[in-house]
């Protein structure tokens, strides 16, 4: 399938005759010449293709290597015409042929396909194909591609390519490409350069913190130790080489460290979003809501529903894909809050005085909801597609920052800030805090405690819904989605100190970073186990969590 698709692209290129640029025309001419030429002349012609800056060259060379280029013998002494064969789209159809020189399709009856002869490149020519394609990439107008190609060629450490790279460095104007060329040349120099060249390369790779050059440096050291190197090194020079390797290695460990911190922060942010709702329903209200995980799933399924609705309203357009997510965020909050509201009215309001039993009843609710999801949405997981602005990543100092990770950190900050604002700065927050501290006194002051509890619970569930929207972006949506987070989020709240949102924030980030730091050492599962054990031990030291609520009362 892929193969045929490839052919279609070639034929499409051939058909666009009117748009042929001067580069392409030149490339076609050289290509035809090369096909007809022989021996070293052919090799030289193919090599010269790399200077044409035509996008057709890789396709041509690929077709030639595959044996899709044929020669049509001309009458008399005229040179034969090279043709490109394109496989038919259906099995068993007849192939179509295009003239290489101008891309015109050959009319079916104008020649005898049986008389065609396959044009084979000489063995020596074949060998320069890859290099030609690589070198060609050095002349693409795209700066990033050019820089990548420069580095890639340098890393091949091919002494044929090295002079070409040096030549290119003189004409290149883009600084990032020059940098990449320098790096690539330095790496090649390590293997093929003179002694001075090698020393310069060692210094340059060190200055550039070249991760790509580390292997080459290590190889060189290895060769020196084994006495295989072209030039022997003095003690001092060897020390320089070792220092250079050490410097790059410390740079790598630094980028690893920053990368781990960043991934840890983003995992912490996920945990934080998941646990923040629980910090309110469990931490402030004292309700052990085992159905919290299902509130998360409600949010995730709401994201799925809004995606489906957008797709059916706007068909499967990019507009729908890009915008449904913005709609899903408030929608999930509202649906989860509504579910929380119903749960509070039907079950939890009777259990404020029996917290352990609220655990049991809400677990029952959680079972009902899980099975309900399965009955409504089916047992298979549902896929929610991410809008393009959440995909992709940006690389700074060799550290990859995924957009979705950056987004979740920003999202977490926003939610924490919003929650803090609601709790600390609004009349609603004031009455929430009053009811949580002393319901009877609050009632005596005229606060309608039932209503406040109802609203608080709905708000906490709504936050769980927001967590669900995000989780739908990093995995598929299933009825067990919430279950995988429920134990962790309880641990976050307990370790942070119940009834304290700052504690929840710190413990979520702490747990996230610890988890990510342990993972490379111990593997994902053992890392998690260690985190759980660490929390249990942490509670030995601080039974009330990071920020215990201060009170003189005994339970």
């Amino acid at each position: 399938m892929l193969f045929r698709f490839h052919n279609l692209i070639i034929s499409a290129l051939f058909l666009l005759v009117s748009q042929l640029s001067a580069d392409d025309t030149q490339a076609r001419e050289i290509f035809v010449e090369a096909i007809l030429a022989e021996g070293s002349e052919q090799t030289a012609l193919v090599e010269s293709l790399s200077t044409t800056a035509s996008t057709l060259v890789p396709d041509f060379l690929e077709a030639w290597k595959r044996g899709d280029i044929f020669l049509l013998e001309a009458d008399g002494s005229a040179a034969p015409t090279p043709l490109l064969e394109v496989e038919p789209e259906q099995e068993g159809g007849t192939p179509t042929y295009f003239r290489v020189i101008d891309g015109e399709e050959m009319a079916a009856g104008s020649f005898d396909p049986a008389a065609l002869e396959m044009a084979r490149p000489s063995r020596k020519t074949r060998r320069v194909f890859t290099m030609t394609i690589d070198l060609l990439a050095l002349s693409t107008p795209n700066v990033q591609e050019r820089a990548d190609a420069a580095l890639k060629l340098g890393l091949k450490r091919d002494d044929d390519i090295l002079p070409k790279l040096i030549l290119l460095r003189e004409t290149e104007t883009e600084p990032s490409v020059i940098e990449a060329l320098n790096e690539g040349i330095a790496v090649s120099m390590l293997s093929h350069g003179t002694k001075e060249g090698q020393m310069d390369a060692i210094q340059l790779l060190r200055d550039e913190n070249s991760i790509a050059g580390l292997d080459a440096l290590k190889n060189l050291r290895h060769d020196l130790n084994d006495g295989l190197a072209t030039h022997p090194f003095s003690e001092e020079e060897l020390a320089k080489l070792t220092a250079s390797i050490a410097s790059i290695e410390s740079y790598i460990s630094w980028t690893d460290f920053v990368g781990t911190c960043f991934r840890g922060l983003s995992l912490g942010a996920v945990l934080l979003i998941v646990a923040l709702g629980l910090a309110i329903t469990f931490g402030l209200m004292g309700v052990i809501n085992m159905a919290h995980g299902e509130m998360i799933a409600v949010g995730a399924y709401s994201a799925y529903i809004s995606q489906t609705v957008f797709y059916s309203l706007f068909s499967e357009s990019t507009f729908a894909l890009e915008t449904y997510f913005l709609f899903a965020i408030p929608f999930s909050f509202l649906t989860a809050a509504l579910c929380g509201f119903i749960l509070e009215r039907t079950v939890i309001q009777f259990l404020y005085k029996r917290p352990l039993e609220s655990l049991l009843a809400t677990w029952g609710v959680s079972l009902i909801l899980q099975q309900g999801f399965r009955l409504i949405f089916g047992a298979a997981n549902r896929q929610v597609r991410s809008p393009s602005w959440l995909l992709g990543n940006v690389e700074i100092f060799d550290i990859t920052f995924g957009f979705n990770r950056i987004f979740v950190i920003g999202f977490a900050i926003l939610i924490v800030f919003g929650t803090w604002f609601l709790m600390a700065k609004t009349p609603m927050g004031l009455s929430i805090r009053a009811v949580m501290q002393d319901p009877q006194m609050a009632a005596a002051m005229g606060i309608r405690i039932n209503r406040v509890r109802m609203m608080t619970f709905a708000f906490g569930s709504g936050l769980a819904g927001l967590a669900g929207v995000f989780l739908s972006q990093i995995g598929s949506v299933g009825s067990n989605l919430g279950q995988s987070y429920i134990v962790d989020s309880f641990m976050v709240v307990v370790a942070g100190g119940v009834g304290n949102i700052v504690g929840t924030v710190i413990s979520a980030l702490g747990i996230g970073v610890t988890d990510q730091a342990l993972q490379p050492l111990l593997g994902p599962v053992m890392g998690r186990i260690c985190v759980l054990v660490a929390i249990i031990l942490f509670l030995q030291w601080k039974p009330g969590g990071l920020f215990p609520s201060k009170s003189r009362s005994l339970d």
Binding site: L360, Q483, V525, M526, W541
Partner: protein, 376 residues
């Protein structure tokens, strides 16, 4: 009419249950004629054997939660640890009858082990394995309980960290490299104490042992409620600080009870494994432990027979509804749970009392209505 005291009545209940399980059921299985109403098939007996093991776990949780006020959401862990300890012995007893015809357990051959890991070797001995059934859950509970109670973690927090404990253990046992069979656990047992494991006579004997063991546990609890220890236990449940201020080390009491309950559950696990023929980390999932709490709550916490009734009733309901309404089973269980918590705080055992109270409360209104009806 002679009024019986509470303790006398529960003793009578225990004796009745013991008679039914230890004598009547095996007898009906042995002597009942095939097809008769009174006959209990081998399959039914095996099923009930499983229920009895569950009932013991429920009793052990009741000892913690009902009588001491410690809600443990990790009782399934101790059950599974006991099961694993005995399962290791059963695995080694397979010998070379396994699928790979090797002296090593099948999963080890599969994972490329060349020889038995050192910690497996002692499990070749039956007596060591039986001691491990007692000591492994006991030591885990002892260490964990010591840490938790010393830090005065209680109530909701205790519940949550026990849940974290069983979750961590569950993740650990799911690992293949942990040498306990990964997610498949142990299965394909062939013999127990030299008897073919699935022979009806072996299964009958296992049922009998489980029934005796359950009865012993019930007697232990009944006896405990009469002792001073039992009184302090309940005092801790009702007001721990007061007990501590009266000079009792509540930490020690709680620790002892926690360890006893863990061992009780561990033995139940060891009896469960040969009857069911498999043990895997699924038993350690937090949801399994929550299910145990359901059994106790449905039957009636802080009553002697409540957990037994709850465990058998819920599991019977589970078997029944997974067969008849497979899609709705979880909904039935969930709804049962919500309803029990909301409307039957004393469970099934407390239901008659609750109805009586309800009648007393409304008797006056009923009479009024009757009189009004009579006048009209």
């Amino acid at each position: 009419m002679i009024k019986f005291s509470e303790t006398q009545r529960s003793l009578a209940g225990i004796i009745a249950v013991t008679f039914f399980l230890v004598v009547a059921m095996p007898a009906l299985n042995l002597f009942g004629s095939e097809g008769s109403f009174l006959h209990i098939s081998d399959y039914q007996l095996n099923l009930w054997g499983k229920y009895l093991c569950y009932a013991v776990v429920a009793v052990s949780l009741n000892l913690l939660w009902g009588y001491t006020g410690l809600l443990c959401l990790g009782q399934g862990l101790f059950f599974a640890l006991g099961g694993y300890a005995f399962g290791m012995h059963l695995m080694l007893m397979i010998g070379e009858q396994g699928a790979y015809k090797s002296a090593l357990p099948d999963f080890m051959v599969f994972l490329g082990y060349k020889e038995l890991p050192a910690h497996w070797i002692p499990f070749k001995s039956l007596s060591f394995s039986l001691l491990a059934v007692l000591f492994v859950p006991g030591i885990v509970a002892g260490v964990f309980g010591f840490l938790a109670f010393r830090a005065r973690i209680k109530g909701v927090y205790f519940a949550i960290i026990t849940q974290a404990l069983t979750y961590a253990a569950c993740l650990l046992f799911f690992q293949n490299s942990f040498t306990f069979g990964g997610n498949n656990g142990f299965t394909d047992f062939k013999t127990v104490l030299g008897n073919e494991i699935f022979a009806p006579s072996t299964q009958r004997a296992l049922f009998f042992i489980s029934a005796v063991y359950l009865s012993l546990c019930l007697f232990l609890i009944w006896w405990l409620t009469k002792t001073k220890f039992g009184k302090i236990q309940r005092a801790i449940r009702d007001s721990e600080n007061r007990v501590r201020f009266s000079g009792y080390s509540t930490t020690t009491y709680k620790l002892i009870i926690f360890v006893v309950a863990a061992i009780m559950a561990g033995i139940a696990g060891a009896l469960y494994v040969p009857q069911v023929g498999i043990i895997n980390p699924e038993e350690m999932r937090p949801s399994k432990s929550l299910e145990i709490v359901v059994w106790v709550a449905v039957g009636g916490r802080a009553t002697i027979l409540g957990p037994v009734i709850g465990a058998i009733f819920v599991n019977w309901l589970k078997s029944y509804s997974t067969y008849h309404y497979p899609e709705y089973w979880l909904i039935i269980l969930g709804a049962l749970f919500v309803l029990v918590v909301l409307f039957m705080p004393n469970g099934i055992v407390g239901l008659p009392e609750q109805l009586k109270g309800f009648y007393r409360k409304h008797r006056f209104r009923f009479q009024q209505k009757k009189e009004a009806a009579a006048e009209a």
